[in-house]
């Protein structure tokens, strides 16, 4: 990829994310109807689901890049995996913060050990574990261990998604059998929110990837500096 293209993408993703986030906020607060039973607090749902979609997508990127890293041993794929893991943890954290803030006024409790909530918490711990591996084991050993772990940890993503179908719980089911269980007026704000969070994920992951590339450049310069020193 040329330098001009890289610079264009560096501007495109943050600008598109900002525009999409503003549109999503407008759609949620100016267009979406107020839910009859839950009232205003239901509006947390749009960005809660957006954060969950972004976290799932980020962890899928970790899986794919980890496979490519283990096959090619190219540090670039490891850098992509690390960037996606970090942003995935950020969005998974947002899911775990906004969920209880919705649950408290609706369920009367901040947290219940519901299958969806429990498997999501496990998901968060798994990818925090991934980050810990990266901190504890620098260099190719850490990249290799994280690559294997990044593939194994992904097993929990489909478990989180299907947990509300496999086990009885109290977490709402929005999409069942291809049908969206929402008022028609809530669907456009939901789609815009999902798009906004995907673009936000892309912008943040790209910025984190650029930082990873700078770290790789420093390692290369330090190695050549040691080789040049008599």
């Amino acid at each position: 990829m040329g330098i001009a293209m890289k610079k264009t993408l560096d501007i495109f993703f943050p600008a598109a994310a900002l525009a999409a986030v503003i549109s999503a906020l407008a759609a949620v607060f100016l267009y979406a109807p107020v839910e009859r039973t839950m009232g205003l607090v239901q509006k947390i749902f749009y960005f809660h689901l957006g954060s969950a979609a972004a976290a799932f997508l980020a962890f899928t990127v970790v899986l794919v890049s980890s496979v490519f890293y283990l096959v090619s041993r190219s540090p670039r794929w490891d850098t992509v995996a690390l960037a996606a893991a970090e942003t995935g943890v950020l969005f998974c954290t947002l899911v775990l913060i906004t969920g209880p803030l919705w649950a408290r006024p609706v369920w009367g409790k901040w947290w219940v050990w519901d299958p969806r909530l429990t498997t999501t918490l496990i998901l968060w711990f798994l990818y925090v574990g991934y980050m810990v591996i990266r901190e504890a084991l620098p260099g190719p050993r850490g990249a290799l261990a994280a690559g294997v772990f990044g593939i194994l940890a992904y097993v929990d993503v489909p478990i989180v998604y299907f947990s509300i179908r496999w086990w009885r719980g109290i977490h709402p089911v929005v999409i069942r059998g291809g049908n969206v269980g929402l008022d028609a007026g809530m669907i456009p704000p939901l789609i815009i929110s999902l798009a906004a969070f995907v673009l936000l994920l892309a912008a943040l992951t790209r910025e984190r990837y650029n930082i990873g590339n700078l770290e790789l450049r420093i390692q290369q310069l330090e190695v050549s500096s040691k080789e040049d020193t008599p």
Partner: protein, 51 residues
């Protein structure tokens, strides 16, 4: 706490977390760019000295 307060808390938490992460990324990027510059300058002066 009213329902509006929960809504406000949720949206504030989201944007605060994203903003803090962005600021941290920006600071880290600036520090790394400065380190790359200094290493590249040092490599350049070593090459000039070796000529």
């Amino acid at each position: 706490m009213s329902k509006l307060a929960y809504l406000f808390a949720a949206y504030s938490a989201i944007w605060a977390a994203v903003l803090i992460y962005l600021v941290r990324l920006g600071m880290r990027r600036r520090a790394l760019e400065a380190r790359v510059d200094s290493l590249e300058r040092a490599a350049g002066s070593r090459q000039e000295g070796g000529m």
